[in-house]
């Protein structure tokens, strides 16, 4: 894709207000209202119900991951009794029992930890890869940019689930929480890279960068202190949404049999086990699906609200 064309695309996407809308360097950081973007954004955010719904759910699931005992109503997910296998939900056991006769509420609650750890860990790796590769490519330009952009294109052309599936199956990363997170990140960092790269290119020839250079600032300092802060807003929006997307991807990989493995407790494993019992015991698929969806939704809602708040064009 040519630069011109990328610029056109970006322009159009921004016009349509679909992606973050923040790719254009319209944030006036030189004015005396230096923090206005963030304080304005917070003002917007506070009045957005979408944000609060997302934030409350997000906190609940975070708490659930940290202290699952609070939510499990005293049941132990590993204490099972085959005689209550597949029992339907009741007043005593809100989510019923799974096939092994384990309390299902406890199992679903304890599943939050793995999902959140993988989501957060994967997004951290995505950020490191995306910001470093994007900043280097955008700042250097020339052949380094060409090379890194082609590498990004290569990864971009491979579907996330497919790539992670093959990596995990090949076993080069091993199996387990860290392996799943890294596999997801390796095939999911490209959008972050493109965001950062375009942002860096957009501001690197601006006057204040020239001024910093004239005052003798090193390349590293210019990049970290003057250029990268411009990318914080779009990257933050992207990161929040991506946590949700990656949590969904983890459940999918685990469902497909290449993610977490028993005895780990995971929503993907629960959905997979309940799949064949969809006719007789639909609650086995239902409850982990609901909780998974709410978790994903919490992050996507927060990301959406953040985008609306941080997009200065909408505040005309």
């Amino acid at each position: 894709m040519t630069e011109q064309q990328q610029a056109d695309l970006r322009h159009d996407v921004v016009e349509a207000g679909t992606t973050t809308g923040l790719a254009s360097p319209s944030v006036d950081v030189t004015s005396d209202r230096q923090n206005s973007l963030w304080s304005d954004a917070w003002g917007d955010l506070r009045r957005n119900p979408l944000f609060w719904i997302g934030a409350v759910f997000g906190l609940v699931f975070l708490l659930m991951a940290l202290v699952p005992q609070l939510f499990a109503r005293g049941a132990d997910p590993r204490a099972c009794d085959l005689s209550s296998s597949n029992q339907k939900p009741s007043a005593e056991h809100w989510f019923g029992f799974d096939q092994q006769g384990c309390d299902y509420l406890a199992n679903v609650v304890y599943g939050a930890r793995n999902s959140l750890i993988i989501g957060l860990l994967a997004v951290a790796v995505v950020l490191v890869l995306g910001v470093v590769v994007g900043a280097v490519a955008g700042f250097d330009g020339r052949w380094v940019d060409g090379l890194l952009s082609r590498v990004t294109d290569i990864f971009y052309a491979l579907p996330l689930i497919l790539g992670a599936l093959v990596v995990l199956r090949s076993g080069v990363l091993g199996r387990g929480v860290v392996a799943v997170a890294v596999a997801l990140a390796v095939f999911g960092w490209m959008t972050a890279m493109r965001l950062v790269r375009s942002q860096v290119i957009a501001v690197k020839s601006s006057d204040y960068v020239a001024a910093a250079r004239a005052m003798g600032a090193s390349n590293g300092r210019i990049l970290v202190r003057h250029i990268l802060p411009n990318a914080v807003a779009p990257v933050l929006v992207y990161t929040t949404i991506t946590i949700g997307v990656l949590i969904a991807a983890e459940a999918t990989l685990t469902f497909l049999g290449v993610g977490l493995q028993r005895p780990a407790i995971s929503w993907g494993l629960q959905i997979e086990a309940g799949q064949s019992l969809l006719r007789t015991a639909p609650h086995l698929v239902l409850f982990p699906s609901i909780v998974l969806t709410l978790t994903v939704m919490a992050f996507i809602m927060m990301g959406d609200a953040l985008r609306d708040a941080l997009d200065p064009r909408q505040r005309a």
């Binding site: 159009d12 016009e15 491979l158 497919l162 599936l165 090949s170 996507i300």
Partner: protein, 307 residues
């Protein structure tokens, strides 16, 4: 324009080579010995094993194996799986299923997405607008895996409207998986159309059309919609490439024998040639449709010049 297309085509070569090499290397690293697994209970004689390993170049280093693979590929030979079946046969047999699924999904997202987007964008902040905004957030948030089960359980089992697995009912069996596969893009198309329409309704030429006394319908359909659809069409075009490669989950849950299902099965059984062949094909589709979209963009919007 011609020069631009040539340059873009040239740039796709490293992407195709890089992506297929990446997958080739990963498949190379798959654990276990596929030849031994082929024998099952009766172990193969060392001579047979040696012959098979030689036939599939399994004893060569990675780079040599890949070079031989590309050499065959350039002559139109995608290789055979370990049971002696040509990979191209597998692809030809499986591809129509994926193509049909993609056609259904694209049709659904185009029709429903654009209608919903227009209705929402014409009256911003109205009831329909908020409905579309909220429901698109909800739809995007439901993982495809969950959506597939909801669809199977509610529309398939409870109401009995759709078959929940297989392709025995012709095009009809593709409706439910198509809807599930399209859901995310559907929400995106609706939002894209909505913002695009709302934006364009403020343009001068729309005011001129209204001032001429044209009926509201004509102003929206003939003047606004046509311009607003440019980003939508380009998104849908690129989405064809994405859907052709992203249907692993849908094809697995709904038990559709398409290429996504085939690549999943082949990863499990370590049929390296099939995995690499199909993934390369998927990458090709992705790159190809993106190229088509970029060219289409210039055709649709005469303000864009590539030369």
């Amino acid at each position: 324009m011609g020069r631009y297309i040539a340059r873009r085509l040239l740039l796709t070569v490293p992407v195709l080579i890089g992506a297929s090499f990446l997958i080739f290397a990963l498949v190379y690293a798959l654990p276990g010995d596929p030849i031994r697994a082929l024998g099952g209970d009766r172990p193969l004689t060392p001579a047979v094993v040696a012959q098979l390993r030689d036939e599939f170049n399994l004893d060569d280093p990675l780079v040599v194996q890949y070079a031989k693979y590309v050499g065959d590929l350039l002559q139109g030979d995608l290789g055979t799986d370990f049971r002696g079946r040509a990979v191209s046969d597998t692809i030809l047999q499986r591809l129509p299923v994926t193509v049909r699924l993609t056609v259904v999904a694209i049709a659904i997202e185009t029709v429903i997405g654009i209608i919903a987007g227009v209705l929402a964008g014409v009256r911003r902040n109205g009831f329909l607008d908020n409905l579309v905004l909220v429901s698109s957030t909800l739809v995007v948030s439901v993982p495809i895996l969950v959506l597939a089960f909801i669809a199977q359980f509610v529309l398939g089992l409870q109401f009995g409207w759709f078959p929940i697995a297989g392709i025995n009912k012709g095009w009809y069996s593709y409706l439910l998986p198509g809807l599930v596969l399209a859901s995310g893009s559907l929400a995106y198309v609706a939002r894209l159309t909505r913002t695009s329409i709302a934006e364009n309704l403020r343009a001068d030429y729309v005011r001129t059309a209204r001032a001429k006394g044209l009926p509201n319908r004509t102003v929206i359909v003939r003047h606004t919609l046509r311009n607003s659809l440019i980003p939508v069409i380009t998104f849908i075009g690129a989405d064809i490439g994405t859907l052709m490669g992203g249907a692993i989950v849908t094809e697995t849950v709904f038990n559709l024998p398409g290429i996504g299902r085939a690549v999943f099965d082949s990863v499990q059984t370590q049929e390296g040639a099939v995995v690499v062949g199909i993934v390369t094909l998927m990458v090709f589709f992705f790159v190809f449709f993106n190229l088509v979209v970029d060219v289409l963009y210039a055709v649709l919007d005469p303000r864009i010049r590539y030369d």
